[in-house]
Symmetry: D2
Subunit: 445 residues, 4 copies
């Protein structure tokens, strides 16, 4: 008996959590946060969260509805990658389960870092699996779990494969197919094709951009866009600030490489940058730390920016705030509470997209408005996505040839597009492709 | 006395034509076609045009309103680059003037080719100027004209500078700032800055994307996107068709380079591809002709496609039809009148954007629908624009520091954005930045 | 055993056709055309269709896949209302079945008229049922079928209810809830509530605007908008042309009422207007025929327009062409082939929306462009929809309380919104609300 | 010498203020607030404003740049109507001028009310002019000023006409042409046509919707939409809340009329509703006060809502909060700080549009999300605009035949559309139609 239970991430983009039940054992896949209500909250108050406060604003996956029986069967919590919408809820919720937390080294280091920052002590042990290797989960029957190397917008992202007696279950949430990932290896296409031949029972798949009829551009394109903006515009006499997703270590490498070419000293400023870069450094995946200065604490930040303000043309400042988050470095810079004042001489490069939540849009618009009022020059969307689009999905389905497809990572407004693609490819809605919502279950044999 | 007269291209995107009057002499800048009504016409009938039929559908700039006096003063017809909306009207209209037609070698060769194709005998002589060099136009007073090397989506595009006693007039219609142009040199920033120091009276400037708050990505990005689509998707067992703007020789080079890497034989099919590649070849700017087979005539086309159909995986077909034009190769392929049948094994790559006219949108949608019905896989928008966006414009204004700015290459629905940028930079609407429409004139001193 | 089979209209907007199987009997619900490919075809050629040509362009529901067994069980073809996407395929396909065709008087008269126009002789007999009454279909077991009065954008639209041993099946395709319908009665809410109490097994429901979070405005609003445009703008010295959906008899009544108030003589011009008004007249539902002149044939049309051209201010011309259809009166007027020439003195009122197919958009844009070139004043979207929106759907579900919901009248890109509404109301995707595509079947007990 | 100076409202939608200079005299037209930054501010703090704080966030028209000479010439401050973006800055700024404040009775009463609420004592006297009458402004030369009756979304809106020796200056900011205004008279078309014959030197005109190619629907349409929502949906067992712009007295009358028909008791709740209704009452233009209960103070509000909560089906609550404003009644209801709890039994009708500022969008989205979480049923956009669209503008220009047109009430992103319309009608950009920004001046003879 194999059953798939959706807990979170099937009615919204965020708080991903699913459970795979195999006879007398079960496995949790991801345990993430829903960020938009947290952003809203942050606009008002400081940033002290508790499980209770996060549950109230529905920022945690709703695992209260899981039956006692099922809860008892949980043997592992598998985490696919180090983004908050996949791992961020672990510190708040893991104590309810008795099961090791498993992920790649970067992911597990990141988990430890956020736990520590929040003064959590994890009740369960963590176990690491290297990309392209396997692990056995102990249960009534042992379960083999494989972490296949994948490309995405953070490091050591894995497609998680659970081998069941009825075939493999592939949890592809999130990924893109990128042959030029800047840091790390290409996706392991070879293994995907082998799995396809051996038999895949079900594919749970990132469908957030299934409606975009393209192949997602590679990270090398983002690098090229950065080069265009940094090397082709007139910035010799300008202050230079670049911001991106702190988790995007490959992007940070490209930014640093550009800064070096521009002969500028490089300083990284901001708490979440510090956290992700430190974590990457621990697992030896931040091949640029010798070229940068990394500052985190308030007085360090102030000293660094004071230095920059003496001769801005000597520096490139990489900082937080690409979503206009209250309390981020860019927010504080525009509010005038840091010892650097934006002027018409400064360039700010956003190597990111605006997250399509109304609070992020509002925060970002406010930030840009202040910069424009100061005459500061802005470059936006110097970015490519880390999520697969329709043509990547078509290739994935072609390689895996799964019996069942379960679109994930959004509500049915978006997963519908994956269902359409599947039916183009011969799948039948309700039979072999399944539109699910949070709190559903599906029998897979 | 310096006056600027708008003839075409200030109330629509297309049929660019302006006149600069300097005391007793005058110069025509561009003489292009308005393509959307031609596309509409082509949907109905074949393709025989006359001056009269083109005037009826308003596809030619309306030079009938030019006064006799001004007409007599015309001393030269300067063409900025080899796109039909800048040069395509010359064969139909040049006989009304007595003045040499001047442009870069590629542009002039292209002009001769279209004249020949249409059985026109040009009444006026053509003169070539190399990029980054000058020429003197004879008149009551001699006028020095300079063609500055610029990057755009075709070869040997120039910013045309007319030196007047009151300062330089810079005609920047069209351009982008691209430091990685694949074929040809970078823009001549040095010369632009010098002009800025010497004094620029007026800048007439491509404003079609002035509303896009970005820097236009370089051609290297388009190359990277092609590599993503061609090297990262599963196409070893597929037929491979690529289509792009026939005038875009740099793009064609990237496509050929990819084809070579894929170990495929490459054939170029279609009349306009043949025309542009032949012209580029004549001026030694098609550094890939030895790697391709170039076919044009019906029986050649049929023979070539028959060969491809025997083993599609050996070939890459580069062909016309990116806008779904009736009569193009892709159109005829989907209509089943050529000896190759699209199937679910074929990939078609559109290295182009859809032109935003309702007829192009309809043609293209029809084309794609037929392909999809056959199960053919489609990759669209594998492309970057050749037009400057807001941040390029900001840099251009910064370098040239012109006294007056005249937004061009669109109606005021779009040129307004350039006026806004100018007013950000200190220009005054109606005083130093001028929103014009077809048939206006402006006194510049 | 009750099974529901989708034939057409579940993967596109158009060619509606479903089959309800009840043990040894079965009933067809609607048999309509898919119009966009027909519009495309009309742009090229004249208008002679055959079953074969319509099947080629996929304009007919694909009933070839219906099993022989099921085909033999068909006992009736029920038609909900007189729109071509619900009834237009009957003349081409009914001969394949041996079953009476059943609908309201207006619908059946319309069917006869289109059959006659196309020189079809219907093989099956037609039977009429008055709104708010029932009929018994003979089969292995008799089946009671009820036609409940509903409001929509044509006359005598019915919600069709099939009474089965397991509960009622309600076919609500198409409708709106309008208490001010201008012609005809309000929806029969009373009967819907009774059905809800007795037990509804399944609801098949028009979901095209389920994503619009509104209640559809009533027909009285369209009347008010017409009054605004006709009575508040300065048109005493203008020619006045109004166009709308020919099937929309209530709208035509409002237009005529306005024309009378303006003291203008009113002439209806165009073939499809003639057809629908004649049909409405036969069933005594065109309470304005004494106030208008109705012309159809070429020489009548020309004579009428010649008269209008003598003093346009005396007339209101109601004519075909609201979608810019080639061959319609407005198309021919703008092409200059009729004895009336549009000028800057004329007003043209479009009491319609543009159908969102690329060919309709292109045709309409072309039409408007020509009118604008002549300086003619245009009023568009003087219209409200005939389809229910989300809040009507919520009320319908509230009244009927069906066990199962099957969203219809569009592909899953749109029916998804109805599924979302249903899940808000407690239904479960895949269990009690079913996203279907053409060619699916669903067991209902 | 006649000069027109733009102060505010020509680079944004809001803070309208202009100055007309006629030889040795000058007149101010409007003095309004820019609301979006105030909304942003309100999201953070309470609502205590000072001139200084409002200047800091650029919510006041920037009159600091007005020359001393011009300032001395000011003889009157004319206010067109009682909206905050036209009159709201008066209390903060009038003391800088020595000139009477002139407007219609409703407008002047409203001014007094907001001054009083803010504890301002106006330094200048106020003078009232009835719609369709005139007044003489004393200056070096006397100036005749006329207030023509116009329709808009508040009462006693006027087109202000200043008679100069060179012709009339018509300030049409804001208006719509509505023959069915519910309260008040139709626009005085007769007088507009007379002015056109006598000679209009310049028209300053509301262009915010000049890009919408329609005629604005009348207020009767909004009434019809309300009737659809209130009489056609199933609400007998529901609580009923309606919200709209507090200044929109005609809309409030329609709402009350509907409430009476539904046999519900009606209570108006909220500070700004109280203010506007009281003001309307003072000038005898609130013909519904006997049918409602009007509450303002906290304890009154609480008592009223407690009563409602006892039997919601007996009441209709008209309240503030249509933009989700923090502190409004709807905001407080959803935050649970008032003695009424929204449930799935309640209906909330928004007879308003969302103001297109990111803060209003965010506030409103937040409000709706909370309502939806409670299962409350929402009806949005039950509304028509109070601003003229393109076809009204065409009629206005036709009647007035002004020599010059100055588009107003938005930045050039929107006023451009009015310039386009004007050039369709024969005006020349820069000659007779003038795109202006804040702080410009234009010589009119």
């Amino acid at each position: 008996m194999i059953k798939f239970h959706t807990v979170g991430g099937y009615s919204e983009v965020g708080k991903n959590m699913s459970i795979l039940e195999i006879d007398d054992d079960a496995i949790i896949l991801d345990m993430g946060l829903f960020l938009p209500p947290i952003v809203e909250l942050e606009n008002k108050k400081g940033e002290v969260y508790t499980e209770r406060s996060l549950r109230t604003i529905e920022a945690l996956p709703d695992d209260k509805k899981i039956s006692k029986d099922l809860r008892k069967k949980i043997r592992a919590i598998l985490i696919g990658h180090a983004h908050l919408d996949h791992v961020g809820a672990v510190p708040y919720m893991e104590y309810n389960y008795k099961a090791p937390i498993v992920g790649t080294p970067f992911t597990m280091e990141f988990l430890k870092a956020i736990a520590e920052d929040g003064n959590f002590v994890l009740k369960n042990q963590t176990r690491t699996v290297h990309p392209n290797s396997s692990i056995t989960i102990k249960g009534k029957k042992d379960i083999k779990v494989e972490f296949i190397n994948m490309t995405h917008s953070t490091l050591q992202t894995a497609m998680v494969v659970i081998h069941t007696p009825k075939g493999a279950i592939v949890y592809a949430n999130d990924f893109k197919f990128d042959n030029y990932p800047i840091i790390g290896k290409k996706p392991n296409y070879q293994r995907l094709k082998e799995l396809g031949k051996q038999g895949v029972l079900a594919l749970i798949v990132d469908s957030i951009y299934a409606n975009v009829e393209k192949k997602t551009p590679s990270e090398k394109i983002a690098r090229g866009l950065l080069e265009d903006v940094l090397f082709t515009t007139d910035n010799q006499k300008s202050g230079l600030f670049v911001t991106t997703f702190s988790s995007h270590i490959a992007r940070l490498k490209s930014i640093v490489d550009c800064g070096v070419k521009l002969n500028r000293k490089i300083v990284f400023v901001g708490r979440s940058l510090h956290r992700y870069v430190s974590v990457a450094s621990k697992v030896n995946l931040a091949p640029f730390t010798n070229k940068i200065k990394l500052v985190r604490y308030r007085n360090q930040v102030e000293r660094a920016l004071k230095k920059v303000s003496r001769d801005p043309t000597e520096w490139m400042v990489v900082c937080t705030g690409h979503q206009g988050e209250p309390g981020s470095i860019l927010d504080r810079l525009t509010r005038g509470v840091l010892p650097y004042k934006f002027s018409s001489k400064d360039h700010v490069v956003f190597s990111s997209a605006v997250i399509p939540s109304v609070w992020s849009i509002a925060n970002r618009q406010k930030l840009e408005k202040k910069m424009k009022a100061a005459g500061t020059r802005i470059f936006t969307d110097v970015h490519v996505s880390g999520h697969c689009m329709r043509e990547d999905l078509r290739d994935l389905v072609g390689m895996l040839q799964p019996q069942h497809i379960i679109p994930a990572h959004a509500g049915i407004d978006k997963t519908t597009a994956m269902a359409e693609l599947a039916s183009e490819l011969g799948y039948k809605l309700g039979k072999t492709v399944h539109l699910m919502q949070n709190g559903n279950k599906l029998s897979l044999g």
